[in-house]
């Protein structure tokens, strides 16, 4: 020995022993998958579980409404002869949240409104996610001039007040459900693109991407096997939260009379039609307001829970 080193013969023997011991200690058995792990962590987050149950409940109620909402409570789109008699009734056993100006049951309007509001939230988020993923991926992979162009474009989009931008767009293309999808969807891409771009850029720095390159893996393989699976978590989180945001934007638009057109019930139009009776018949607004509040909150909490659950480094602590 010239220089002291931890690596003498004794160490070598100890190595052999510890290696054997390590093997003996290691428990056998099926391994858990990462997504399975994430689900396990999500289950421990009570707020996220409550939020997920609430969202599932709303979806279930909205999807099955035709089967069990009693049509005798008033056809949600009806304007019958008994309209005047049933107009703006206070809450009763028959109408738990009263009736609206046209004698329609508020509860069933809110249930049917869930269909439209949820659809707007999901579809609009879907549109912005697809655009955002493509733009973010191009910016991050190709870098250079593409990165500059796309990111500056995103900056320009983000520089305008979002709601005003959506309103302006609706004013140009006209209102109606499809146009609400399009306006919210198209204008929502810049933030998704940014999130995805930064996720890719940080994943790209990892040694396992270099390892794949050193192995001779093709670009497609590196993206599909290494980069995408490791950057998609942030998008799942962001998209979940974005659904709540899109529902909120739709409500705001409908409230301004620029979104879903009556008699189609969306939560925003329900609030809008109830707002003038706020002081005398507040039940017209309370239920749709609560529906928006609870659903948007649920999506945000679920997104929060997902973020914690999908973080690989945060193990079962």
């Amino acid at each position: 020995m010239i220089y002291p080193s931890p690596l003498d013969h004794q160490a070598h023997q100890a190595v052999a022993e510890t290696a054997v011991a390590a093997r003996a200690n290691a428990d056998e058995g099926a391994s858990r998958t990462l997504w399975g792990d994430a689900f396990g962590r999500l289950k421990k987050n009570k707020l996220a579980v409550v939020a997920a149950i609430w969202i599932l409940f709303i979806i279930l109620v909205a999807a099955t409404a035709d089967l069990w909402v009693p049509q005798t409570l008033g056809d949600p789109n009806a304007t019958g002869a008994n309209m005047a008699a049933e107009s703006r009734l206070p809450p009763s056993l028959e109408h738990p949240f009263g009736t609206d100006t046209l004698g329609r049951d508020v509860l069933s309007r809110v249930i049917y409104g869930a269909r439209i509001s949820l659809t707007v939230g999901v579809v609009a988020t879907g549109i912005s996610t697809i655009i955002g993923l493509v733009m973010g991926a191009i910016a991050a992979y190709y870098g250079g001039i593409w990165d500059t162009i796309i990111m500056r474009l995103a900056d320009i989009f983000l520089a305008f007040p979002y709601t005003l931008f959506v309103v302006a767009m609706i004013a140009v293309i006209g209102n109606g459900i499809q146009n609400v999808f399009i306006a919210i969807g198209i204008l929502g891409w810049p933030s998704i693109a940014r999130v995805f771009r930064s996720a890719i850029l940080s994943v790209k720095e990892n040694d396992y991407v270099d390892a794949a390159r050193a192995m001779g893996a093709s670009d497609v393989r590196i993206v599909a096997r290494h980069i995408f699976p490791n950057s998609v978590a942030s998008i799942v989180v962001y998209a979940t939260m974005n659904i709540g945001g899109a529902i909120l934007t739709e409500s705001a638009l409908s409230f301004l009379g620029m979104g879903v057109v009556p008699p189609d019930p969306s939560w925003g139009t329900l609030i809008q039609s109830g707002q003038q009776y706020l002081q005398t018949e507040p039940w017209l607004m309370i239920l749709p307001g609560l529906a928006i509040l609870s659903t948007v909150l649920a999506f945000t909490l679920l997104g929060d829970g997902l973020r914690d659950a999908l973080d690989v480094k945060m193990k079962d602590a």
Binding site: I2, Y3, P4, S5, P6, L7, A11, H12, A14, V15, T18, A19, A22, R23, A26, E28, A30, S31, R32, T33, L34, N206, D207, Y208, D210, A211, A212, R213, A214, M215, G216, A217, S218, R221, R225, H226, P229, N230, V312, K315
Partner: protein, 339 residues
């Protein structure tokens, strides 16, 4: 050694990085000279240790050889073929022969893949002609060879410790039986006791497969343990290259001498009495390296000539190269440890 054909021949390799990404002034932007005109050879089955302090260009050298970054100048010949000018197709076949082991066992394994998938990925990429079942069997054998339980083939990296993960990385590097593996500080992220295990594993595998290593490290005792020859780098240049015995016994370059005199010894009496060469100041910035000999600003024996004239990388003894105008063997026997 000299009579054999080198496996890898690095000639005048340089790598510069732009220091500021000036959009308009890019032509005048400053450059970091990470690696500057270095040359060395690696022979089949040997281990060349590459030591130096942080930021001296060790890792950049390794990455340039693999063409994970493109060298700015110079050539890297692997079995006579120039890596720097290879086409994509040639590069892919090269990567069968040359593999990389990374420093960070946490960042080098994809957390979304099982270790079975990780280790068999190079086999898939290069189409080894095995069926899925044969591949599974082979990966299990490899796990056994590197000292892991083959039953853990379906586990994910986060279920393993740092040392175990490094073994996974080693199994992946050996999957195709490459001729050369570049080990970029493979043990510096591990505990000392685990370092010993991993180093011994690397040695055993080398004996078994006849693989050559370029072993990058900053720890002299680690390098000494594994290397046949050692190259010392300072600020992007190789200052001394020799077989490990003569380098540790008779270092010529004042930088090597000071490095060796700084290595700790587990004997307090010796530690207190030995002569230490303490270098003044910090390493100069590679953006603006000193003229002449890059070490002259901190060198205890520097003279006027050193700041104007770059020292030649010359042979001072058979097989012992040194880049210093005034290089002479350092009486390390008196000063540090008994031989």
């Amino acid at each position: 050694m000299a009579d054999k054909e080198p496996l890898l021949k690095v000639e005048h390799l340089s790598k510069e990085f732009p220091a500021e990404s000036g959009m308009l002034m890019s032509r005048f932007a400053k450059k970091v000279s990470a690696v500057n005109d270095i040359s060395f050879e690696i022979y089949p089955g040997e281990t060349l240790g590459l030591v130096g302090e942080s930021g001296c260009g060790k890792s950049t050298t390794g990455r340039s050889i693999m063409r994970l970054t493109r060298p700015t100048a110079g050539h890297v010949y692997f079995e006579g073929r120039d890596v720097a000018t290879m086409s994509h197709k040639e590069l892919k076949s090269l990567r069968r022969e040359m593999q990389f082991i990374f420093q960070d066992p946490y960042a080098s394994l994809n957390p979304r893949m099982t270790i079975g998938e990780i280790i068999s990925e190079p086999l898939q990429i290069h189409g080894d002609g095995r069926t899925a079942a044969e591949r599974n069997k082979y990966v299990r054998e490899l796990l056994d060879v590197v000292g892991l339980n083959p039953e853990h083939i379906n586990r994910y990296p986060h279920e393993f410790s740092g040392g175990q993960r490094q073994r996974i990385g080693i199994a992946r590097a050996f999957a195709l039986h490459p001729k050369l593996i570049i080990c970029d500080e493979p043990v510096s992220a591990l505990d000392v006791s685990i370092q010993a295990q991993v180093l011994n594993l690397l040695k055993d595998l080398q004996k078994q497969f006849g693989t050559a290593y370029l072993f990058i490290a900053h720890d002299l005792s680690v390098v000494q343990h594994i290397s046949d020859r050692i190259a010392v780098m300072y600020l992007g240049k190789i200052v001394e290259l020799s077989d490990w015995k003569s380098l540790y016994a008779e270092p010529f370059h004042p930088y090597t001498q000071s490095l060796l005199s700084a290595a700790p010894i587990p004997d307090p009496d010796l530690m207190n009495t030995r002569r230490r060469i303490i270098l003044a100041g910090d390493p100069p910035s590679p953006i603006d390296p000193p003229t002449g000999c890059r070490f002259h600003t901190r060198c205890p024996i520097a003279k006027a000539r050193c700041s104007s004239e770059q020292p030649e990388f010359r042979q001072v003894e058979p097989g012992h190269f040194c880049a210093c105008h005034f290089a002479e063997p350092f009486p390390i026997k008196e000063s540090s440890v008994e031989l």
